[in-house]
């Protein structure tokens, strides 16, 4: 295998890692907000104490956080075959990886959103109500922007973890960076692919840290 060959193969893995990373964020960030709404739902059923929507969200979050992500990826990938006898093609790998990551990260994001939303002072809601804002206007114009500022450090932590977690997709042989590095290293009996992968993850996270820091700074204009 030539150097050039190794670089192209690792490069392909790199792109797939980046694809998985951004797809996960694009789905999990809004999905997490929806889950946090469900988690805080006041809808009751039969008795005043029984809140079915909230309970479902609680169960979902607890399973997502209480079991290994690696296992979840395998369940999403192999589930259709074991459960329904569906044939799985390798083109399903990318979807399975994105679905598994998105629903897992949505659970973590939901808890972060909830913490942020619950920390907002009641006075903000009351002022908005007195001024005549609708509930949707109040949430999206007044509450959410402030929540975002409050939770940004926690979101940054999760995003940095996500960069590293993408390597777990190797369990379904999704050809991301780590899978490729492993393959090439075995074939060439060389450490270099691993070193290259390490550098890639490190630089990726460095960029994430810089970007998140910029976003945090851009919200520094108020307390």
């Amino acid at each position: 295998m030539t150097i050039q060959n190794i670089v192209t193969q690792l490069g392909g893995g790199m792109l797939k890692t980046i694809l998985l990373f951004f797809s996960t964020l694009v789905i999990a960030l809004p999905l997490g907000l929806l889950v946090s709404f469900a988690r805080m739902s006041k809808v009751t059923f039969i008795s005043k104490k029984f809140k079915p929507v909230r309970l479902l969200a609680q169960i979902y979050i607890s399973i997502m956080r209480g079991t290994p992500l690696m296992l979840q990826i395998m369940v999403v990938y192999f589930g259709p075959y074991y459960l329904f006898g569906m044939k799985i093609s390798s083109s399903y790998q990318i979807y399975a990886a994105i679905i598994a990551f998105a629903i897992n990260y949505a659970a973590y994001f939901a808890e972060i959103y909830r913490g942020g939303i619950e920390s907002m002072p009641q006075g903000q809601y009351e002022a908005a109500k007195i001024l005549g804002f609708t509930k949707a206007q109040t949430f999206f114009r007044i509450i959410l922007p402030q929540v975002m500022k409050r939770i940004l450090p926690s979101i940054t932590n999760e995003v940095i973890t996500l960069v590293k977690d993408t390597s777990l997709a190797f369990v379904i042989a999704y050809a991301e960076m780590f899978t490729m590095a492993k393959r090439i290293a075995a074939k060439e009996t060389s450490m270099i692919p691993f070193v290259a992968a390490g550098i890639f993850y490190y630089v990726f996270n460095l960029i994430v840290a810089v970007v998140m820091n910029r976003i945090e700074k851009s919200m520094d204009y108020y307390k």
Binding site: P121, G123, Q124, E126, A127, K129, I130, L131, G132, F133, Q137, R141, I142, P145, Q146, K149, Y221, Y222, K223
Partner: protein, 251 residues
């Protein structure tokens, strides 16, 4: 003309009866001061009028529109949602701790509701906001953020924010209690100025001298009841009620 009529308001939290039987009226252009010890139900009363809380029974009429009345079974029946929203447009409320929106500039704090709630244009809402800021002595603070202002300045912004929606009655819940003593004067001056323009106002306050000199009517509340309702002279000078005298002697 009556701007506000409250009849036999009752409100409990759990088993705690906070408003026991409150009836009063406010005429157009009048300033009503509400005084009374801590926990007597003053804030709860303002919150019931402004729909931040719901009453258990009684009747509230605001600018001729019935917000809530009591049915034959003694239960409060509110107007429909749209009507409730329309009625709340008659009122403005200034909070003790301002509750400005920290992520908006001073200008946007004052324009946002004008645009999104009243549907005014950007230009006309900014013109109104700038006029009000000038009136509040804050013309140069339009582009500041609330965290860059003193408490007194923040409270003046919150008064401008309420006035921008042209309320017919402006309510204040201890507008100076969160301020350093040297900053209370600037807020009281603003309220005094509004009173001279014949703005109808209800002011919950612990500033007795202010209540005495600015109010047309004074209500003394204690333990969920109105003990006195009269002119400042009647309440501050001529009251024979023991509880009123005991309360006032602390000031």
């Amino acid at each position: 003309m009556k701007m506000l009529e409250a009849k036999e308001l009752k409100k409990s939290f759990g088993g705690n009866e906070v408003l026991k039987n409150i009836s009063f009226e406010v005429n157009k252009g009048d300033v009503l001061a509400i005084i009374g010890p801590s926990g007597s139900g003053k804030s709860t009363l303002l919150r019931c009028i402004t729909q931040l809380e719901r009453i258990d029974s009684g009747e509230i009429v605001i600018c001729g529109d019935t917000l809530v009345k009591t049915d034959a079974f003694g239960k409060a029946v509110y107007a429909d949602k749209k009507q409730c929203a329309a009625i709340s447009r008659h009122l403005g409320l200034v909070f003790q701790n301002f509750n400005l929106f920290p992520h908006f500039s001073v200008l946007r704090n004052i324009t946002e509701a004008q645009r999104k709630v009243l549907g005014r244009s950007k230009d006309s809402s900014e013109e109104i906001a700038r006029k009000l800021l000038k009136k509040m002595g804050l013309a140069d603070k339009a582009h500041s953020y609330p965290c860059e202002l003193s408490g007194g300045q923040q409270q003046r912004v919150s008064i401008a924010r309420a006035l921008a929606l042209s309320p017919e009655v402006l309510l204040f819940d201890e507008p100076t209690s969160a301020l350093d003593p040297e900053l209370t004067g600037e807020i009281l001056r603003v309220i005094r100025g509004l009173a001279s323009e014949k703005m109808t106002m209800i002011v919950v306050t612990h500033e007795m001298l202010f209540a005495e000199s600015v109010a047309d009517r004074v209500i003394f509340m204690d333990n969920g009841n109105i003990i006195e309702n009269g002119t400042p002279e009647e309440v501050f000078k001529k009251s024979t009620n023991e509880r009123t005298k005991a309360f006032l002697s602390k000031y």
